[in-house]
Symmetry: C2
Subunit: 318 residues, 2 copies
């Protein structure tokens, strides 16, 4: 029996949804294993309450978009699925740590996340801080393991790229700028220009999404041209993700979105929707989707599902 | 002119103090460079306020005992000083992040550290949380850099060992147990036994000190016997450090110690001094120093300064 191209048979959006939910399931199983109660070599014990909070902050929710981006792009370079899933799990640890810390009363002070109490609400502030610290540290543990990739140089490149995406020159710095943009500190001018907001968002949410898009090409030892294509794809997708997120905050229904909406305006957050207005922001969103898709043209139909992912990111309703 | 052994000429304690202060100076210069304002490859920008808080949390204070332990033990394996100083700086980033987070109101709620306001007092809670996150992430960036060691496998082993020492099975888990031991949660029995306190302290402060003691042998690709010697040295030194710290809290003068004292008893902290009483704790401290020193007997006089360091850790007054 000849194999049938699933994209042609079911349509690319259905295949994207299938693969997204399969990665989500596999990531859940993997994180559950990584966050088991038995200490591994080099550890002394895994305290129950901390483990429970780390599991709460990372299991049982989320679309797992970042792991999907790692795994799907890695398949273009024939990387084994266990390998790319581990990198996806590491990225998800960083993502979930950032949510646990950003939700804290001293930061964005959110009580609700994915329709559930945030980690500090379900536990307490100290436990939420430590759970975030533990998840961030675990990400680097995972990347350093031989099963993540047989080549030490590849693992090191992932450690380096993740650290710079997530650190003070990336995600953490972006959260600082975001708090500053609320007018809490004098680090930023009170009225942000278009370019300031782009930098802020490229750091706060863009850097980790871009890493997720580039990690597959690192794992697959892709050449510079291929890697640059994924950097362009990841940058456009990251910006599109944030604009879509900001539009949801303005127009979304809290019951569907799973967290409070209308918070950006209340907190005087810096968003492109706020700077440009919803109509212009939506036009920009559309051009970013087209740019993300164009970046992958050289990969032919192999990249169809990633192109669908860019469209999904821009049009998601939750 | 024949070279004169400095240990014989000046006495080992004076040489130890010289080397400790030289490592402290070199670490200060190195951290100042690592925390410069220009973003490096893979970063977008380094927000000023965040950078200032990370510099505040990590520069201008501290004995730099952990970097000293890395550098001094690395010299036994002929590791280059720039290499071991980078690993020392990474350990110090982790140490300083842990202080910034542990001092937070939701955790130990300390206002004073090294005689200065704690990071959240000098800035604010959100900035202190992010500065800690940034320092932790930077540690892994540093370890992944080629200048840290030419051999990728060595850098990866450092990443792995640091992650496990610092993470939920090590330092972060120890802080969780410490908060639990205050009776805030029901994760621990209200009366801790000797062994529970040892595990708690081996995780909270011991794991990172042990990593600092072992890192030199990893950098120097030492054999298993040599590495085991440094693990034994590091374990004993870590436990000695914590007992000395707890004795200081009971008996020290806040003006000399540079932070509030008498806090452990007030917070019902779990300490060996509390469990055993000061006299028995001091006897244990003495036997730990002897054990740490004995662990390095095979290295002959090359290890004299590290042996002096073990004595210093047990008898320090600040």
């Amino acid at each position: 029996m000849a194999s049938v191209d699933p994209v042609k048979k079911k349509g690319v959006d259905a295949v994207f949804q299938d693969r997204l939910s399969r990665v989500a399931q596999d990531t859940e199983v993997l994180l559950d294993r990584l966050l088991g109660s038995r200490p591994i070599d080099g550890e002394l014990a895994r305290p129950t309450r901390l483990l429970e909070a780390m599991r709460y902050a990372s299991l049982g929710g989320g679309k797992r978009l970042r792991p999907f981006l790692v795994v799907e792009s890695a398949t273009l370079f024939h990387v084994s699925r266990p390998s790319s899933l581990l990198v996806g799990a590491a990225v998800e640890c960083v993502h979930c740590y950032s949510l646990a810390h950003d939700d804290l009363p001293a930061m964005d002070n959110d009580d609700l996340r994915r329709g559930r109490p945030t980690t500090h609400k379900a536990f307490d502030e100290a436990t939420a801080i430590l759970a975030g610290d533990g998840l961030l540290t675990l990400a680097f543990d995972i990347l350093s393991r031989p099963e993540t990739h047989p080549d030490a140089a590849v693992r090191l490149e992932l450690v380096s790229a993740l650290a710079r995406s997530a650190g003070f020159g990336g995600m953490v710095g972006g959260q600082m700028l975001d708090l500053a943009a609320e007018g809490r500190f004098d680090a930023l001018p009170p009225k942000l220009r278009d370019q300031d907001v782009k930098t802020l968002q490229a750091m706060k949410t863009g850097a980790l999404l871009r890493f997720a898009c580039v990690a597959g090409s690192i794992l697959g030892k892709a050449d510079q041209v291929q890697r640059a294509a994924f950097e362009r794809y990841g940058s456009a997708l990251g910006e599109a993700f944030q604009i879509a997120d900001d539009l949801l905050d303005v127009e979304g229904d809290p019951a569907t979105v799973g967290k409070a909406t209308g918070k950006d305006a209340a907190a005087h957050k810096a968003t492109l929707v706020g700077v440009l207005g919803p109509a212009a922001a939506r036009r920009r969103l559309e051009s970013l989707v087209i740019d993300a898709q164009a970046a992958l043209n050289n990969f032919g139909s192999d990249a169809d599902v990633l192109k669908a992912a860019a469209r999904f990111v821009a049009t998601r309703r939750t």
